[in-house]
Structure formats: structure tokens, C-alpha cells
Amino acid sequence: MISSDVIRGYNDTIILYMLLDGESYGYEISKNIRRLSEDKYVMKETTLYSAFARLEKNGYISSLHKDGETGKRRTYYRITPDGLAYYRDKCREWQITQEVVDKFIKEA
């Protein structure tokens, strides 16, 4: 399990990635993050909803209310063009970060 401190700067990136293939909602996103990370990372509920609020405020995602198949009202999120641009920036940033940090990692 990864500590949330390390990954904090990339929560938004992870969520944007989950929206690249189309709209999704809270639980589905959280479930897919767990699955893709092979149970190594579970995003906390409040972290997820903080990220939604922040991303929406910055115009990176948009939300809409929909009635789910069980009749429950759900909020679906969709990535915006600004969000996509931001996602690409973050990917480049991570590549550089990874290159730099890698230089200081060795089997001790």
C-alpha cells in the first residue's frame, strides 16, 4: 500500500486519466484506481471528492447529474479540453521527476 503523502501531487492526474475514455462517477473511478494499481493504492473518499472540487473549480472537469440504473442520482464527471492539456503537462512533469529521482535511487 502506497502512503498518500508520496502520491499526493498526482491524485488529480490519476483521476483525469480515469476520465480520458469518457465520463464516470465517484465509486467507479475509485474502484478502477484500486484495480489498476493492483490494490496498491486506494484513494480515500475525501481525497477523491476534494480532487473533484478542485478540478471542477479549475475548469479541468465538468459535472452533470444523472439518474443511475437503480434510480439513484449520481454526479458524473467529464474531462474538459483544459483538463486534457493539464493532464499532458503533468505527464511530462512526471517523466522529468522520474528521471531525476531515478538518478538518486540505487540498490543499497
Binding site: G26, Y27, E45, T46, T47, S50, A53, K72, R73, R74
Partner: protein, 324 residues
């Protein structure tokens, strides 16, 4: 899932209840419930599933900070309803509803007894009594039943002062709220049945008068007596079950007792005192000065209708203001 809802309620209690926060809370509850259902489908126990969902919740402070929402200051918080006050009020409501129900039943039974004795008297079935003393006996029967009824009405209101805080806005602890909601839900089927029974009895009761009339004019008072006795039962059912129902609404601040409605009712109460005083003055002046006792009683129904219309308009105005 009551446990998850109660958990969220307790976490959100320290934060202002805005539309945004309410939406967020509902959304998060939905997510937590879905997660819980899925864990259970994977074969985990109820306890384990709840434990996992709660452990993966995170920190509410982090979330509120992101949203820029400040916690409610201690002084702005509404007074919390103590558990013993809620329990006491529940007992008070049951007792007071019972007394009121019995009171209304006695009043109608009194009228029924009066009708019955007057009917017997007219048929000359009261033996050696003179007609006048027969009517007197009818009035005495009414009196004997109405006096204890008045006692019951007074008794039903005694002890109300202890629960004055319920007239203002207050806060319910999540546990107490869940507890009261459960009790209310358990009570509702009985109340629905009582409404159906009362409505049926109410609709059927005039049949007694019809049957009396078919058997001959002299029998009408007996039919009326039976109808009034049945209506006594109807009044009891409405007052008893309705009273308890309202008690739960008041404790849970729903229905007629939401914070907005409370403010509205306070305003309307002020207007109502003025309007009814005017009506009373008009009634007495038209009666004593103009001697129109034959028609002036119409002031009261007219006032009631007008007041109902004013109340309706006021409510609508409040609603449109709330929307804007």
C-alpha cells in the same frame, strides 16, 4: 445503510449545512453504500465491510479546506436536544394525545347521550318523568360527560412548558435522530390503519341516521346518537394517532415543523391573534348594538376562510423568496 448515514451525519455535524455540503454528503453516502454492497458481494461480513468503508473514508477537514468551508463556531451552533428531553417529550405526546382523544370522544359521547335521552323522552319512554325533567336529564347527561372532557383537555396540556425548546430550532445528534426515525417508521403503519378505519367510520356513520329515518321519524334521534358515538371513535383515532404522528414530526423537525415553517408559523401566529380579535369585536358589536345574532356568527367561518387564504399567500411568498 443506517450505520454509514449516522457516521457521515456525525462527521458533517460540525460543518454548516449549505446546499453544496448537503449535495456532497449525499453523493459520498452513495459512493460509500456502493462500496459496502460490493464488499458484501465479495463475501465479507457486514461488520468487516463497514470497517473497510469507514477506514477508507479519509479526513473531512481536508475536504472542507479544499472547498473553503469554515467549521461552525461554537456560539453559532444550534442547541442540541438532550436525549432525556426527547424521551420525555415522546412520553408527554403519547399521554397528551391519549387524553385529547378521550376528551373529544367524551364530548361526542355526551352529545350522543343527550340525543338518546331526548329521543327516549319524546317517545315517552322515560316512565314517570315529566317531559321537562326528561330534557333536563338530557342536558345533565351532556354536562356530566363534557366536564371530565374539559379536565382531560387541561390535563393534556400540563407539562408542555418543559418542552419549549422544541418550538425553536435545535440540533439532533445523529444517533438520536436515527433512533427517532426508526421509532416513527415503526409507528406509521398503525397510524395509516387508524386513518383508514376513522375515514370509513366517518363516512359510514350517517347511515345510522338514514336507517333511523327509514324506521320512522321517532327513531331519528337514536340514529343520530349512534352516529355521534361513532364520530366519537373517529375523533379519538384522529386525535390519538395524529397527535403522536405530529410529535415525531416536531422532534425530527419535518412536515409542519421545519425551521422555515417554524418561523412562518410564528409570523402567522402574530397575524392570527390580531385577525381573530377583530373578528370577535365585529361579532359582539353586530350582536349587542345591531342585534344581528341570527347572521353575525358567519363572521367566524368567513374569517377562517380569509385567514386560510392569507396564510396560503404568505407561504407562497416565502417560497418564492427562498427560491430567488
Amino acid at each position: 445503510m443506517d450505520v454509514l448515514k449516522t457516521y457521515l451525519d456525525s462527521l458533517f455535524a460540525a460543518w454548516p449545512r449549505t446546499a453544496q455540503v448537503d449535495d456532497l454528503k449525499r453523493e459520498m453516502l452513495g459512493t460509500m453504500e456502493e462500496k459496502y454492497e460490493e464488499l458484501k458481494r465479495e463475501g465479507r461480513s457486514e461488520h468487516e465491510s463497514i470497517g473497510i468503508v469507514i477506514s477508507e473514508f479519509g479526513s473531512i477537514d481536508e475536504l472542507m479546506e479544499e472547498l473553503g468551508i469554515e467549521p461552525i463556531g461554537e456560539e453559532e451552533r444550534l442547541p442540541a436536544l438532550p436525549e432525556n428531553v426527547a424521551a420525555g417529550y415522546e412520553g408527554f405526546v403519547r399521554r397528551s394525545a391519549l387524553l385529547q382523544g378521550l376528551g373529544w370522544m367524551l364530548v361526542l359521547l355526551g352529545l350522543a347521550a343527550m340525543m338518546l335521552i331526548a329521543g327516549l323522552n319524546e317517545q315517552g319512554a322515560l316512565g314517570s318523568l315529566s317531559a321537562d325533567s326528561g330534557y333536563l336529564l338530557a342536558a345533565v347527561a351532556l354536562f356530566l360527560l363534557v366536564v371530565p372532557a374539559v379536565g382531560l383537555f387541561i390535563g393534556s396540556a400540563s407539562g408542555r412548558e418543559a418542552y419549549r425548546m422544541l418550538d425553536e430550532e435545535f440540533e439532533l445528534s445523529p444517533g438520536l435522530k436515527a433512533d427517532l426515525e426508526r421509532k416513527w417508521a415503526a409507528f406509521r403503519p398503525a397510524r395509516s390503519r387508524s386513518v383508514i378505519v376513522a375515514a370509513c367510520l366517518g363516512v359510514l356513520s350517517p347511515v345510522a341516521v338514514l336507517i333511523g329515518a327509514l324506521r320512522g321519524e321517532g327513531e331519528i334521534p337514536y340514529g343520530a346518537a349512534i352516529m355521534l358515538a361513532l364520530l366519537g371513535l373517529v375523533a379519538f383515532l384522529f386525535a390519538y394517532y395524529g397527535g403522536i404522528h405530529q410529535g415525531y414530526q416536531k422532534l425530527l423537525q419535518t412536515g409542519e415543523f421545519t425551521p422555515e415553517k417554524k418561523a412562518e408559523n410564528r409570523a402567522l401566529q402574530g397575524i392570527s391573534a390580531i385577525v381573530w380579535s377583530i373578528a370577535l369585536v365585529v361579532y359582539f358589536i353586530s350582536g349587542f348594538v345591531y342585534q344581528r345574532w341570527d347572521v353575525n356568527w358567519a363572521v367566524f367561518p368567513v374569517t377562517a376562510v380569509l385567514f386560510g387564504a392569507i396564510g396560503g399567500m404568505y407561504t407562497m411568498q416565502c417560497k418564492s423568496k427562498g427560491k430567488a
